[in-house]
Symmetry: none
Subunit: 404 residues, 2 copies
């Protein structure tokens, strides 16, 4: 990114506070019957009030036409180039459940799975075993396998059939193949190195899988093996503190978003389950930080389900909640999504996402409602999501003049 060439020369610290609210997957598409999107159908007086007082626009999460996962979509919102800074699934999983990760560690996503006596995968999720059963198995694995070939092994339950694994030690490489055959009815694969530096790592992992299978044989569970994927290291990425001189905090309930925030060096608050918890946390932490990332998940979940009414309700619920934020004095408030999740597509999409920035230092426009089509006529225009952060910093007066 061009701005990275001058950023350190112009960024300055001040006391102004920025609130970035991410309504996950908030953007949508018209309902075939009404011709109205989810946002156009919802009653949301508080979001509309923000749109009225603020400067609106649309943001392109990664590139035109590209549908992002949550990783690249958030990396963009945080002001980093999402193509330059790609983050592995293992890293996200591990950070998301609060495991401490070192720079040399390899993070891995694991699934417990069922195999038959011929090593054919018969259930890639081991019947979605209960989380408690998962915890018992993981405890037994951890007791029996502390290290392999001098590499430390750390395992932790995520939920149901999912677990996260950290390989710790020198000389490890993430460039190994998965052992997941992707389809049931196929044999589990051997993990193979994808380059010469990864030969040792593949040996460690194959031994790990063998030893886990032996442990599982003695247990009463559908879990008979472990499928490994998403091998990755922490990306080499500057923290918010280093890059923006900010003291940032993440207020989110889902692991994925906490993991992403941790990667860019945010303090991550644990134990928040609901949006009410999140808003309480925001109040409690108000004095301690100058950048607040608040994440709301339900809009995306409803979009993924393709449930139009549920997404409308999620928008309306959140609209009510934000009335409880407005009396807090933030110098800059931004409400947007990380990407669109139109109910008609039942998944993430590439469509530009509505965006509003409220601050005394912006130019208000005549947009009166927070919707995709209304925001498209806002003064911000349609911009890459990775530029939003810089407009927030500017609005918070955190940039010196560039050049004389």
């Amino acid at each position: 990114m061009e701005i990275e060439k001058i950023l350190s020369g112009i960024i300055k610290k001040n006391e102004n506070k920025i609130l970035l609210i991410v309504m996950d997957g908030v953007g949508g598409l018209p309902h075939p019957e009404t011709g109205l999107t989810e946002l156009e159908s919802a009653k949301k007086p508080n979001l509309d009030k923000l749109a009225k007082s603020g400067m609106c626009g649309l943001s392109i999460p990664v590139l035109p036409g590209i549908t992002p996962g949550s990783g690249p979509a958030h990396i963009s919102l945080f002001g980093y180039d999402p193509i330059q800074h790609q983050i592995g699934r293992g890293v996200l999983e591990v950070c998301g459940i609060g495991m401490e990760m070192n720079r040399d560690d390899i993070a891995i996503r694991g699934n417990f799975a069922t195999i038959d006596e011929n090593h054919i995968v018969t259930d890639r999720r081991a019947g979605r075993i209960p989380t408690d059963e998962n915890k018992k198995i993981v405890q037994k694995i951890q007791e029996n396998i502390k290290e392999i070939k001098n590499m430390q092994i750390i395992v932790q339950t995520v939920k149901e059939h999912r677990l996260a694994i950290l390989l710790r030690g020198k000389g490890l490489s993430p460039f190994v193949s998965e052992n997941d055959p992707q389809k049931e009815g196929l044999k589990i694969k051997k993990i193979v190195p994808l380059n010469d530096d990864a030969i040792f790592t593949a040996e460690v992992l194959n031994e790990f899988v063998d030893r886990v299978e032996k442990i599982l044989k003695g247990m009463d569970t559908k879990a008979k093996t472990i499928l490994l994927r998403g091998f990755s290291k922490i990306p080499d990425i500057d923290s918010f503190e280093k890059r923006y001189l900010l003291k940032p905090v993440c207020i989110a309930s889902y692991p994925m978003y906490k993991g992403l925030a941790k990667i860019v060096g945010m303090d991550v608050i644990q134990g928040l389950d609901t949006i009410d918890d999140e808003i309480s946390a925001l109040h409690k932490l108000y004095d301690e930080y100058d950048f607040f990332y608040l994440h709301y998940k339900k809009t995306d979940s409803a979009g993924e389900d393709g449930d139009f009414n549920k997404k409308i309700s999620a928008i309306e619920e959140f609209d009510e909640k934000i009335s409880k934020i407005m009396h807090l004095k933030f110098d800059v408030i931004c409400v947007t999504g990380d990407h669109s999740t139109p109910c008609v597509l039942k998944g993430h999409s590439w469509h530009p996402v509505p965006l509003v920035i409220v601050s005394k230092n912006i130019m208000p426009d005549d947009v009166e409602t927070f919707t995709e089509r209304a925001c498209s006529r806002g003064l911000l225009g349609t911009i890459p999501a990775k530029e939003i952060m810089y407009i927030l910093l500017a609005s918070a007066m955190k940039f010196e003049k560039f050049g004389a």
Copy 2:
């Protein structure tokens, strides 16, 4: 282009069909008397219907302020960076008349010209000799000159005074100067190498010109020499099939556009003379391909002539014809131009070009008519032409999610 870094990881094949309609030079500027552009003056109910149901915008062919030739303008529309992928005129000419070209060949555009006994060029087009005369001369040249210094020489008539030449063999370079003095009354130039690798090629070409002049001396024609320009090789560019996993076809009548389509690996249908031929071909080929590039030339020709009424008629004629396409089921239809050709400028221009995309996966906007000014208020905004292809692919659901 940024997207090239991730494209191969997200592109997927499916059965959805994309139709890209290029109305050559369709964009215009207001008539000094009416204040209305060509599109604003034309009756075009079918194009307006597309604008009403689709998502509109403007596209910038190459860069703001840059007037493109057909080559870069089309390369952009095909989703390639037009500055990174520059295509020589010789290559376009040669491909456009259906000559098969190899990767090491040098393609050249030739003009028959008239010179006097002192080698002064008196007519750069040899009185625009009839195509039949050109064919006779070219036949004689080909009979007499099959190779020079072991390099194969292939010549073919284009039309009137124009011909195309291929130099085939190892060690040839396109970096030689033209022999065309550009103005009548000046002496024809020697071809000189522009770097050391091109010394041999310049020798071959100068001998070729000498031998052609000797042959022409014995013939009853105004053609007395041959002016050579546009020396070029096939650019190293990924095909549509490799890059987008598409099976593409070009439906065009003019050589230039067929040549461009061939360069990106499209199947090129020969023998189409009119827009009716093109539309019949579209019907006939519908089942065989998943990407259709349909080119309409008359809008550009009328613009080049500066004939406002002729351009209006060309728009209206095409509007009528596209009613015959609308019953074919395309998942994505895009109508745009490769560039503007305003009658008031009598030539190509840099002005952004109107653009509409129709698909069930786009966000409709409130644009009601297909004109420059109406489209400028569309939801697509003003975008680089090289991004259009990616929005078409996305709308046809041909991308996987990027990142987790």
